[in-house]
Amino acid sequence: MTDQWTVVVGIKQVPDEDDVTIDPDTGTLNRSGADSILNRPDRNALEAALEIKDQVDANVIAVTMGPPQATPVLEEAIAMGCDDAVLVTDRAFAGSDTWPTSLVLASAADYLDADVVLCGEETTDSSTGQVPPGIAAHNGWAQLTYAEELEPKPDEDQIVAKRDVEGGHEYVAADLPVVIAFAYGENEPRPAGLHRKIYAETEFEPEQVTAEELPIDTDRVGLAASPTQVGGMETVDPVEREQERLESPAELLETLAEEGVV
């Protein structure tokens, strides 16, 4: 076996989408009542990283870009079994779209000497899925998105992924370093062990890294450096549905015939 692999897992704290409501009077989003949780697809990425560790000698480090309040998601990652966790935090990052966000995470991956970067498929709060390919592009690394199974090949310095593609699957071998977006729901994330949980909550302190330490030119991050801007939000009236309950298949077919669709 060759050198130990460094597996960096990018995770994010998001508002629980079930709690985000729309104020019917003002039409604005109300996130204040929403709990902050670990982005659900990131759990699959953490599990995939820990499975790599089960197979090859690897050091798994969870990384989040966010304010210090995001620390609980790092503790969750530690409780699941990550060896270490890093908070990449700087006021200069505020308002970043996917371009600077992937720059920051790409720099963090470089800083940590990553062989493999694992991410969730997308975040439930912005759902772009653009950050993992963005990280790969910033660093000129290989990428494997919509990965459903991984096979580390330490002797070849490669990872093979089973990828979901239109109409089927493909197996792609990518050279390290590689960025992987693991498909949501494609593995069973392991529960946190009690001892790890206690350790994560009482003893563990994430390392904090700033733009200067990475290093990143602060002119290249934040709102001003983001190519896209939100130009407006409109509430969309929910589609009106009859919401009628029918008792039997016969009644359903009758109704559909009246509607002219069968």
Binding site: G129, G134, A142, P227, M233, E234, V239, A250, A257
Partner: protein, 338 residues
């Protein structure tokens, strides 16, 4: 910030996604939609095809309205890989400076779009469902947020090109016009096999059904618990396309090409029947344009009933066969009811 002179950029580009000769329907949807944008901007509509043996694809792109088709034809592009595609596309974007670049929001499109946008320092908006041009000539890319309750408008005023991925099935495809004329240009291929950093080891691709323009769709969810048969039979009896929730796709029961929703396809049939589907926001987003929605679910509190016109609370394994039986033996399902 790079020094970008916005006025140097012109033309609306549409990426023609092709795998082994088969074009992803979303590419033609985008070409139809982009025609209007190009006219509004008074710019050319350019189709870009990357792959191998693309003569037919290029000709079809002209018939479907492209003023110009750029073709990067080389074995290095077959089958698709992110790094050679991204590299070739980025090169063309930097060399020719398009104003707008539209890419289908398929797994392939979403895979490489960022590999172009990042080195080009372009704005990239994900999974749009509406496109427009504002009074200053900027692209307005609209996308649903927070379960479709909000439509966010994303703009990119200081960077070019303005890039967007667009969800399959949201735009209609216009018929090709064999008399339409356009120029086809073979471009320089700058990627070499020796420089690639990934390799496709094996590819198993079959059914790439198009559910997006079906008049009737019957979708199965996790409720079928591995037995798709009753739902497939109902689909057949109704002369409908079979579709699925993501859960049913993830379980491997139904092919991913048939997934409806935020990360699948948008459908807009006259009739949508959701069988054993709970009605998660990501699913609803893909079927909300359906005319009439029917839900069959054994949980009276399943959210799908709020998004359905007609609902039956009950076991799908009893209801589907009953429906099939009543629809059977007639060529036209409507006859039985007359």
């Amino acid at each position: 910030m790079p020094d970008i002179d916005i006025d140097d950029h012109s033309d609306v580009w549409v990426f023609i996604e092709e795998h082994a000769g088969e074009v992803a329907p979303v590419s033609w949807e985008l070409l139809s939609e982009a025609k209007g944008l190009a006219e509004e901007l008074d710019e050319d509509l350019v189709a870009l095809a990357i792959g191998e043996d693309l003569d037919d694809v290029a000709e079809e792109a002209v018939e479907r309205g492209a003023d110009k088709v750029l073709v990067a034809d080389d074995p290095v592009f077959e089958p698709y890989r992110a790094d050679p595609y991204g590299e070739q596309f980025r090169y063309l974007v930097e060399e020719r400076e398009p104003d707008v670049v539209l890419i289908g929001g398929t797994h392939t499109g979403r895979d490489f779009a960022g590999r172009v946008a990042v080195p080009a320092y372009a704005g990239l908006t994900a999974d749009c469902t509406e496109l427009g041009i504002d009074e200053d000539g900027h692209l307005e890319a609209r996308r649903p947020a927070f379960g479709g309750n909000v439509l966010a408008t994303i703009k990119c005023e200081r960077h070019r090109p303005q890039m967007a991925t667009i969800r399959p099935g949201v735009f209609a495809t216009a018929d090709p016009d064999p008399d339409h004329e356009g120029e086809i240009e073979e471009v320089e291929v700058i990627v070499e096999e020796a420089d690639t950093i990934s390799e496709v080891v094996e590819r198993n691709v079959g059914d790439t059904a198009d559910i997006t323009d079906a008049d009737r769709v019957v979708a199965a969810g996790r409720g079928v618990e591995g037995n798709v048969e009753p739902v497939a039979e109902l689909a057949e009896a109704l002369d409908a396309e079979l579709a699925a929730s993501r859960a049913a796709v993830d379980e491997g029961w139904i092919d991913g090409a048939r997934q409806v929703g935020q990360t699948g396809k948008n459908v807009r049939p006259d009739l949508y029947v959701a069988v054993g589907i709970s009605g998660a926001i990501q699913h609803i987003e893909g079927m909300n344009d359906s005319d009439i929605v029917v839900a069959i679910n054994n949980d009276p509190n399943a959210p799908i009933f709020e998004h359905a016109d007609y609902g039956i609370v009950g076991d799908l394994f009893e209801i589907c066969p009953e429906l099939v039986e009543q629809l059977e033996d007639v060529d036209d399902p409507a006859e039985v009811l007359a």
